[in-house]
Every structure is written in C-alpha cells, then in structure tokens.
Amino acid sequence: MDLFIVAFGLIFDPYVLLVIILSGAFGLFMGAIPGLSATMATALLVPVTFFMPPVPALASIVTATAMAIFAGDLPGALLRIPGTPASAAYTNEAFAMTRKGQAELVLGTGLVSAVIGGIFGAVVLSFTAPILAEFALKFSSFEYFWLASLGLTCAAFISTESPAKGLISLMIGLLIATIGIDVTTGHPRFNFGSIELMGGVNFIPAMIGMFAMAEVFRSVTALKPPPRVEQRNIGNIFAGLGKVLYRYKVNLLRGSTIGVLVGALPGAGSDIAAWISYAVAKKFSKEPEKFGTGHVEGIVDAGSSNNAGLGGTWVPALVFGIPGDSITAIVIGVLYVKGMNPGPTVFLEQPELIYAVFVSFFMANVLLLPLGLFAIKSAKQLLRVPREVLMPVILMFCVVGTFAINNTVFGVGIMLVLGIISYFLEENGFPIAPAILGLVLGGLLEDSFMTSMIKADGNFIAFFERPVSAVLGAITITIWLSPQLNKVWRKFRSPSALKPQR
C-alpha cells in the first residue's frame, strides 16, 4: 500500500499530469482517425518519451493507448469504419444504431463501458502482476527461453490468416535483431561493412517504419477517398444510458473479464478480446436475433473488453518482459531504452515505477470520461481532418522522431527501408506484429538460448530438466505442432475431411 502512495506522488506531479493530459488528447485524435491506430500512436509517441524520465514516459503511453482504443469507436459509429482494429468487432452494430438515430446511446455506452472495462483491467493488473513477479523471480535462462518462445509462438499463430506467414514475419523480426555485434562471440553479423549497422538496428526507427511509414504508403495510394461524416450534431450521450448499463451489468463484468484474460495471453491484444467478447455476448444473449440490427448488448461486452484487454497485455510485459501485443512490445523496447530490464527484478529494484504504471492506468481511465466526452462532442470536426494534409505532416514527424534517437539521418534510412518492406509484406497478407515482437525479443531469446546451451554444454535435454521449463517447453512445442496434430486428428476422424477446402 505504501508503494501506491509513493506512486501517487510520482503521478500527481504537475509535469507528469500535463504529459498525461496532452497524451490523452493525442491518443483520442489518433484513435478517431481511421488508419491511425493505438499502435501507431504509441510508435509516434516513443521518440518524444525518449526525452522523458521513465514515469511520465510510461504514463503517456498508457494514457494515449487507453484513449485511442475508445476513440476508435467514433468513426465506427459515425462512418462505419473502425478507427482502430479493436473497434472492428462491433463497427457494423454501432453504425446500425446510428442509422436508427441512436448515435448518442451507442457512443455513450461505448465510452462508459470503456471506462469501466479499463478500470477493471487496471485493478486486475495491479493485484496479479506483483504476485506473478514473485513467482517469476525463480526463473532461469531455460524458463526465459521458453517464455520468449511461447510469447513469440502465440504472436505468430494467433490472429493470422496463415501460421506460416506469421512464422516468416516473426523470423524477419528475429533476423533484424541479429544484425550487429554478436554478444557471445563479439563477431559482427550482417552489417555488410557498415559501421552504423554494427551497433544493430535501433528498434525505434524500425518500429516507426513498420507501423507509421507503411500506413503513409497505404494512405497515399488509396484510390477511394475516405467517406465524409454526415452533418449531424451529437446530443446528450447520457440519456437512457443508466438503464442500458443496469440491464447489461453482467455483460460489463463478463466483457471485462474476457478482455483481461485474452489481453494477458501473449500475442493477443484488445482487438482479439473485442471479437471474442462480441461472439460470447451473442451466444449467451437472450435475444441473439437482434445482433447486427443495431442492438446495444454486444457493444457493452466488446466495448468494455477492448479497454480491459489493454491492462491485461501489461501483465506478461511487466512480469516476464514478454509483450502481450504490439503496443506492449513497443513498451518493452522503451523500457530497455530507459535502461530497465523488464521482468520480475524491476518489481524488487524499482517497485515505485511499476506502481506508477498501475496508478496511471487508473488515472487514464478516469480521465477518459471527460476527455472522451469532449472527443464525442467534437467528433464531427475530428473526422473532417483531411488525410492529404495529415499524412505529409505525420511523415515529417516520423523523420524528426527517428533522427532524434541518434541524431543521424541513418535512422531515417532504416525507417524508409523497413516501411517499404512491411508495406509489401502486409499487402501480401503477412502480419507485422510478429516481426516487431521478434525484433524486440530477439536479443533476449538469443541470449537465453545461447546461455542455456553453454550451461547445458550443448545438451538440448537440459531445456526440459527444470519442472517449470519442462511445462513451458511442452506447451510451446504443442502449439508448434498443433496444425499438424489437427490434421492427423481430422484424418483419424473422417478421411474425407482432408480434402482441400475452398
């Protein structure tokens, strides 16, 4: 409890509070513009947080993402385009409600369920992370190797149209992480004679390239202009809201719980949490036939779920240093830049920092109510910002942001190259999140792997000798083999099931 008081002191500092409010406004803006996601908001914030002490840096990312995930509902409800992937699950439903003249109700429900879900996620994060961290202190390089493998495996296999593409994307990220001096032998790898590459590919330009540059390319080559929002004023969003929330109180709890659990899974974030919650809501609803016609029930579930998921993704990130999604992958990168090694030892060495993250989660979600209300009221103007003006300015912001890390234009080159690569990868159905996770975790994975190999004297059995590492290893390998096991299982049950499915 003392730590919470210390953490409150760290957050309730005029500078930190100002950073939080500005990041909140930034997050709302980024979330509300379709194509600019919470991940991109984080990516663009990182060069700025680079110059801040750890507490405001982390608080600004927490706030911006919480705001952006909610703001994604705005274009979803008003234009039928999700502002961020986390709103995609219920965009059609929300738009159908707007069509019925219930724009106020759907936005109000989205806002309040986001606040409730976010606070729920913050509570779960604050209470489970320290307990798990105590357990994680006993881990050795074997466990870390398997944890990193498990996290990366989930990232590659969950939510991709083909596991092979997730795997390749992950390998690209890991390969980029090997560029530069190898820590075990001191040998430079893949630098092709470049002195600057000898230090490795800095993760900040790489991440800005993969998330922001790729989006700039997509936006400038889009043939269809984005639709314009109808001229319509938003009235009182709280009218009739109490009745809805009271009626669906179980949904709020269920959505939040699913959100935290899915978020805590490595590799799955808010967007998957929202899809699952929406599906669960429909399955257990008393009136499933109303879903899709502008029914508020699923929005309560999914709207609370995606914000609760945000808290959930920080659990593995803070406790093990294994990110739950691409946003926390960026956070892990930021922690390394700040000289902190994410993982259980941070809870011993700098517990006040961890608690400051918890407090900023509460702060962000409480602030979401007034700021979110403001964003809803100004949605009409927000959604009218022309893309042709925004993209060049964002591009310039990316350039300066990458330059600021090492004060050389080399970073700008890295950003450009990786931006082009990830644009083409995404066009061909390769997901980008596994690559960024691979890039962030590559160092840890190789270190723990090589350390373990040396400790075990090249004997791979040692990876399974400790009980926790054996369990983690078994889970990881089962997931690796699951597509094959699945095929064998289907063949066993009915020989015709193996025919190519179209």
Partner: protein, 159 residues
C-alpha cells in the same frame, strides 16, 4: 505487387539459404560445436520451413488466379507517382538535410508532398500548412526537446 503464396514461399526459402551462405565463416565458441552462426541459421531454417508451407498453400489455394497481380493503384499514374514521391522525399531529406538545414529541407519536402496530394491549385494553403508544421516541429523537437536538428544554411537562431 501481390504475389501468389507459392512465389513468396520460394523467395523465403532462397532467403533462408542466403542466411546459411552469409553465416558460413562466422566464428564458433571455444570448446563448443556452435557459435555466432547458430541462431541466424535456426532463423534461416524456420524461414525456409515457412516458405515450404507457403508453397503448398499457394498451389492449393490458387484456383486459376494469376501468379502475380499488380495492386490496383499501380494503373493510376497519379497514385503510382505518389508512392515514389514519398520515397523520393525521404531520400532527398537524407541527402540534403545536413547541408541545407532542417527548416528549408522540411519545408521543401512538405510543400512538394502537400501540393502533389492536394493539387497544385492549393499551393497557397499548402505553403501555409508547411510553414506552420515546420515551425511547430522545429520548436517542439529542436527547442523543447533539444534535438540538434541541423541548421545548414540558415543562421542559428533561438526564440
């Protein structure tokens, strides 16, 4: 360019092999059978394995579709030019920002891009937006965050 998964698969198999080739003379750890090449080679192996899976997937799902499809915007010269203009602007920035300085370079980049995206008739407002954006970015990064943005030909001044 959208290619069939089988072609991506072949590409990544070749890429995996390239990793093996590039790591051929990496040193090994003393007293061990492996060294700096082990991890990259594992990556190359898995990349190749993913490539093999993609070849099967690509052939199975092809269903008469062409092996390579060009993205629809390529046939619109205006959009094709936009794609290359973004690359060109960044290369231009990399090459000249040190000599010319941040303020003029960023202004040129923004002005050209804005004019191209919005049409030449908007040049007045595009110039205004460019000037405003350059001032805001220069103040925020250069003054507030103390990033040493190059001054180039512009005399150093501070507000």
């Amino acid at each position: 360019m959208k290619v069939n998964d089988a072609i991506s698969g072949i590409f990544f198999i070749l890429f995996g092999l390239l990793i093996f080739y590039l790591t051929r003379d990496f040193p090994i750890l003393q007293g061990q059978k492996y060294g700096a090449a082990l991890f990259p080679r594992l990556i190359g192996f898995f990349m190749g394995a993913g490539g093999v899976a993609l070849i099967f997937r690509g052939v199975r799902m092809r269903d008469g579709a062409p092996w390579v499809t060009v993205m629809d915007w390529v046939s619109s010269p205006r959009h094709l030019a936009r794609f290359f203009l973004v690359i060109f602007v960044l290369v231009f920035y990399i090459l000249v920002s040190d000599v010319l300085g941040f303020i003029p370079t960023a202004f040129i980049c923004l002005f050209v891009l804005l004019n191209w995206l919005r049409g030449i008739s908007t040049w007045r407002s595009s110039a205004g937006i460019s000037i405003l954006a350059v001032i805001v970015i220069q103040q925020f990064f250069g003054e507030f965050l103390r990033v040493p943005l190059p001054w180039g030909i512009v005399p150093i001044f501070g507000w």
